[in-house]
């Protein structure tokens, strides 16, 4: 269960960005997760309230977006979706493929609430 460590890392990054922008709260955090990242989105969502308690992001909503696994064949150039343990070319069947998407663990964007005067600066 390393998702708590990942959440603590998210909170540290988000807190820094919030301070740099003089925000009073973080309202939303959007992360992109690929199935090959080793991070389970439901576990991340369960761990989030524990990691965010008492921080500037404690009222934030965590939105996880799962990206598809896509591969490109090194032999025939075909591109197709694949599953976690079958990263194969759908056209020629070879395993010699490159990953195009599916291993992401990315903090995509965050939404910040600013105080009245900051919002009009």
């Amino acid at each position: 269960m390393h998702e708590l460590s990942v959440c603590q890392s998210i909170i540290a990054q988000v807190t820094q960005i919030a301070h740099e922008n003089h925000a009073i709260a973080v309202t939303k955090i959007i992360v992109q997760i690929g199935p090959l990242s080793g991070i389970e989105a439901p576990l991340l969502e369960h761990a989030f309230p524990i990691a965010s308690a008492g921080t500037i992001a404690q009222a934030a909503r965590l939105e996880t977006r799962i990206l598809p696994i896509r591969v490109r064949c090194k032999l025939c150039g075909n591109e197709n979706e694949a599953t976690v343990n079958q990263l194969l070319c759908a056209a020629c069947g070879t395993w010699q493929t490159s990953l195009l998407s599916g291993d992401e663990m990315l903090l995509k964007s965050i939404e910040l609430e600013k105080s009245e005067e900051q919002a009009h600066v």
């Binding site: 740099e20 080793g38 343990n85 010699q96 990315l106 903090l107 964007s109 600013k114």
Partner: protein, 282 residues
């Protein structure tokens, strides 16, 4: 500028968050900021510093991963013995990761090899911070390889960069030949898979070496798969260990070639992931 952990992306996006930048407002009037930073940004940053430290001393760092009890420490013991008998010995040290006890580090120290024990408590993996702290206690002078024996776990360790150069994953033949299909993140990351306890193969009718290898290929992983037994006096011992020692020596040569070109060496999965995501994000 760090090109390992993606903080260059942060900087290139920093203009988005500065006054007059291109930040959108949400319906509620909040400010939306594009970040595009790895979720383990801070760990990766520290990992990069660890890697620089290894590179400064030309020491190859190998992350050993497997489930508990698959023979990581036994492999290291057999490696030390083989190197002691080698005409071209290598100088090594070990960083041991375990939830509790100094047992594994002691087994290595008993063979007169420096070993630093990290006890992680409840943490199921090593991270770059723990390895950084261990490096404070370990002199890299004169070493060829540092083995980092990760916590026995086929899930979490695969997600954390420690600053190492290569991933080696053990799969003991008592665990079943379908483990690579069940733990794809771990086995996709392997630069080498060692099928350990191979002396037991004759008495196991349910472990098919070719199936284990096929499952690894299905992860688009071209890395070699060796059979190996760390047991003393095993007829299976010598050949597997010899192949492993030769592989280590080849990797040192390969690593030093990278260093002489002013580059470091990253595990293949990280190298490809980095190329992919930098291309996409920029």
């Amino acid at each position: 500028m760090c090109d390992t952990c993606g903080c260059n992306v942060t900087d290139s996006n920093r203009n988005l968050v500065e006054a007059g930048g291109k930040h959108a407002k949400t319906e509620a009037g909040n400010e939306a900021i594009e970040v595009l930073q790895n979720l383990l940004h801070e760990n990766n940053h520290r990992a990069r510093h660890n890697r620089e430290h290894f590179d400064k001393h030309s020491v190859l760092a190998i992350n050993l991963m497997s489930s508990p009890g698959s023979g990581k420490t036994a492999l290291l013991e057999a490696t030390i013995d083989a190197l002691n008998n080698s005409s071209e010995p290598l100088s090594i040290a070990v960083i041991e990761g375990d939830l509790e006890t100094e047992n594994d580090a002691q087994r290595i120290r008993d063979k007169n090899i420096p070993a630093i024990q990290i006890t992680t408590g409840n943490a199921c993996h090593l991270d770059a911070y723990m390895v950084h702290d261990a490096l404070h206690e370990l002199s890299l002078e004169g070493l060829d390889i540092v083995f980092i024996e990760n916590v026995g776990n086929l899930v979490c360790p695969a997600s954390f960069d420690l600053g190492h150069h290569l991933n080696v994953t053990l799969l003991s033949v008592t665990e079943g030949d379908d483990k690579p299909a069940k733990y794809p993140v771990m086995f996709r990351a392997a630069d080498l898979t060692l099928l350990s306890k191979s002396d037991l193969l004759p008495v196991l009718d349910d472990f098919d070496v070719s199936k284990a290898e096929a499952h690894i290929r299905n992860l688009a992983n071209p890395a070699p798969v060796f059979q190996l037994s760390a047991r003393k006096n095993s007829v299976h011992n010598d050949q597997g260990i010899e192949q492993w020692i030769q592989w280590l020596k080849q990797q040192i040569t390969h690593y030093k070639k990278h260093l002489s070109n002013g580059e470091t060496l990253l595990p293949k999965v990280q190298r490809e992931g980095q190329a992919l995501h930098e291309g996409r994000i920029n």
